[in-house]
């Protein structure tokens, strides 16, 4: 972790007490959000999302595999995240650590528990063969708020994804011998088709430090919340995913600080508002609505 000189930390803290942020944003205001899809041609779907200077690339690959025994007619999804050292001097090469795993699991739950992917429509041969959806999150440039940038990149990539019927034609031909029931599926889906998706919840993250709660934290703000170099600091992070109806679909508190009930309720409300705005940006970028 980069140590912010305490002078900077004090300055941001003082600003916060006056209701201000160093880049002039309101406490509940996001930096500029940019979404670009179809950025990787080898992937079934992909998107690069920028929130301020933070930049995340998500790619979707699909494969044919076997279903889990307790859901024999459902597709399978997996989310991985790599904090590659390209994105920050603080990220190290090697197998994912606690931070990358928490990120991947929070993004994964936001998609899985909200049932965005209609996995029941990803069955190829009942009991035997289903689609597997691999969501891979690649952090390219790290300036704070990975949770929201990564979640949004995963969503945008999913919305750009085509089920690769043509690429798997040779495998399907082979399967016809052993699994004749595949013909139903092939007749319904003669060619590539969009991944079947439901409405997406949007994740919104805030951090608390010096008793204020700010949304879409920059790296500087995150580092203050993480108490880098400051022993008394107990910052906290809260991610809330909400849907179009304003319902809560996932939450995750992080860091070694705490929240009051009131702070949590306020954060949920601001997450709903921000979520609605971000959902519009997402829809626009993927040509929905």
């Amino acid at each position: 972790m980069t140590v912010i000189p305490s002078i900077k930390s004090d300055y941001l803290g003082k600003l916060a007490e006056q209701g201000k942020r160093i880049d002039g944003r309101r406490f509940d205001e996001y930096r500029k959000i940019e979404i670009e899809t179809h950025v990787v041609s080898k992937a079934e779907g992909s998107a690069r999302v920028r929130i301020g200077n933070t930049q995340v690339l998500a790619g979707i690959k699909m494969d044919i595999g076997e279903p889990y025994s307790d859901s024999p007619n459902s597709g399978v999804m997996t989310t991985s995240a790599e904090l590659v050292p390209l994105a920050s001097p603080d990220f190290e090469a090697g197998p994912p650590g606690g931070r990358a795993i928490e990120l991947a699991r929070v993004v994964d739950r936001g998609i899985r528990e909200s049932q965005i992917i209609d996995v029941d429509k990803l069955c190829v041969v009942p009991d035997e063969k289903v689609w597997m959806v691999f969501i891979d999150i690649h952090i390219l440039d790290y300036d704070g708020n990975l949770f929201d940038t990564a979640s949004l990149a995963a969503l945008a990539a999913l919305f750009s994804t085509k089920v690769p019927m043509d690429r798997f034609k040779p495998l399907f031909e082979k399967l016809k011998d052993t699994c004749p029931s595949i013909n139903d599926y092939l007749q319904q889906h003669p060619t590539d088709y969009p991944l079947p998706l439901r409405e997406p919840p949007i994740s919104c993250t805030s951090v608390k430090f010096n008793n204020v709660v700010v949304f879409d934290p920059s790296l500087d703000e995150e580092e203050i919340a993480e108490g880098i170099g400051d022993v008394r600091s107990h910052g906290a992070r809260l991610t809330v995913a909400t849907d179009e109806k304003g319902h809560i679909r996932a939450m995750q508190k992080g860091l070694n600080g705490s929240f009051t009930k009131e702070e949590i309720q306020k954060a949920i409300k601001a997450s709903i508002d921000n979520g609605n705005e971000i959902r519009q940006i997402l829809y626009k970028s993927v040509g929905k609505k």
Binding site: D70, S71, G98, R99, I101, E102, A104, R105, R109, E113, S114, G229, V231, R232, H234, L238, G246, H247, I248, R249, A250, M251, Q252, K253, G254, L255, N256, G257, S258, F259, T260, K261, I264, Q265, I268, K269
Partner: protein, 254 residues
């Protein structure tokens, strides 16, 4: 995964006969291990959890030392035989995440600035698992830390609420967790009344969230009393009865 199981009946009675706001049976014992500096054995419904605390001692490897405070390493581990299908030994992604959020929750309550350059290791072993192990683990860790005499602003405690068949209920059991609508594990520092752990999966309206939060909060306070009782019993078992009364009463009145 959805199913046709009816999780709550017309009278608000759950599969195991509990009411909506009723906890599973909980048993807490402090100081159960010989070698550890502090320890706790906890049964919570079908969960069986052991927690052991070692430290503070010099942090190793050295480059992990923080010159200003202790580092807290909570390690949540499931025994291979604690679940239906044998789990491979060693940490998986789920246990790495739970270890992280529990470590962060504990750092909030331990007076880490009193022990610079040290580490405090909190080992949580799940021996038998039946939904709610992270709450059981954080609760056991709190007792083990107190048993080890680690200074804390609060004894941390945790309890979950959730939603089954559209009803908000306290402390989900295994089937309620598998087939329910939402789970909200809550970790609390009860004296300062602040949230130190919070996760949510599923689907809750704002009203349902408020109700679930209240239930889980209430559950935390009930379990917190059991924690103090377990520590008191351990204490009584090692000191003279008359001394106990004097020493512990003020603690209870807080």
């Amino acid at each position: 995964m959805k199913s046709d199981i009816k999780l709550i009946d017309g009278h608000g009675k759950r599969l195991d006969g509990r009411k909506a706001d009723e906890l599973r049976k909980i048993k807490i014992e402090a100081g159960v291990l010989h070698r550890a500096d502090g320890s706790c054995y906890l049964e919570w419904g079908g969960n069986k959890v052991l927690a052991a605390v070692y430290g503070p001692r010099e942090a190793i490897p050295k480059h992990t030392q923080n010159p200003l405070k202790a580092i807290v390493n909570a390690r949540y581990n499931m025994a291979s035989f604690s679940v239906e299908d044998r789990k491979r030994p060693g940490p998986d992604r789920r246990s790495v995440e739970i270890s992280k959020v529990i470590s962060e929750a504990l750092e909030r309550v331990i007076l880490i600035e009193q022990f610079p350059r040290t580490m405090i290791n909190v080992n949580i072993e799940v021996l038998d698992a039946e939904a709610g192990t992270r709450c059981a683990g954080l609760t056991a860790a709190g007792v083990a830390l107190a048993d080890a005499g680690i200074p804390m602003i609060d004894i941390p405690v945790a309890c979950a609420a959730g939603k089954i068949d559209g009803h908000v209920v306290l402390d989900l059991g295994q089937k309620e967790d598998n087939f329910g609508d939402a789970d909200l594990p809550l970790g609390l520092a009860p004296r300062i009344n602040e949230v130190i752990l919070l996760q949510m999966d599923g689907h809750l309206t704002m009203d349902e969230f408020n109700k679930a939060f209240e239930l889980a909060h209430h559950g935390c306070l009930v379990v917190s009393e059991m924690q103090k009782k377990a520590l008191l019993e351990k204490y009584e078992s090692v000191v003279q009865p008359e001394e106990v009364v004097q020493d512990v009463q003020p603690e209870e009145s807080e």
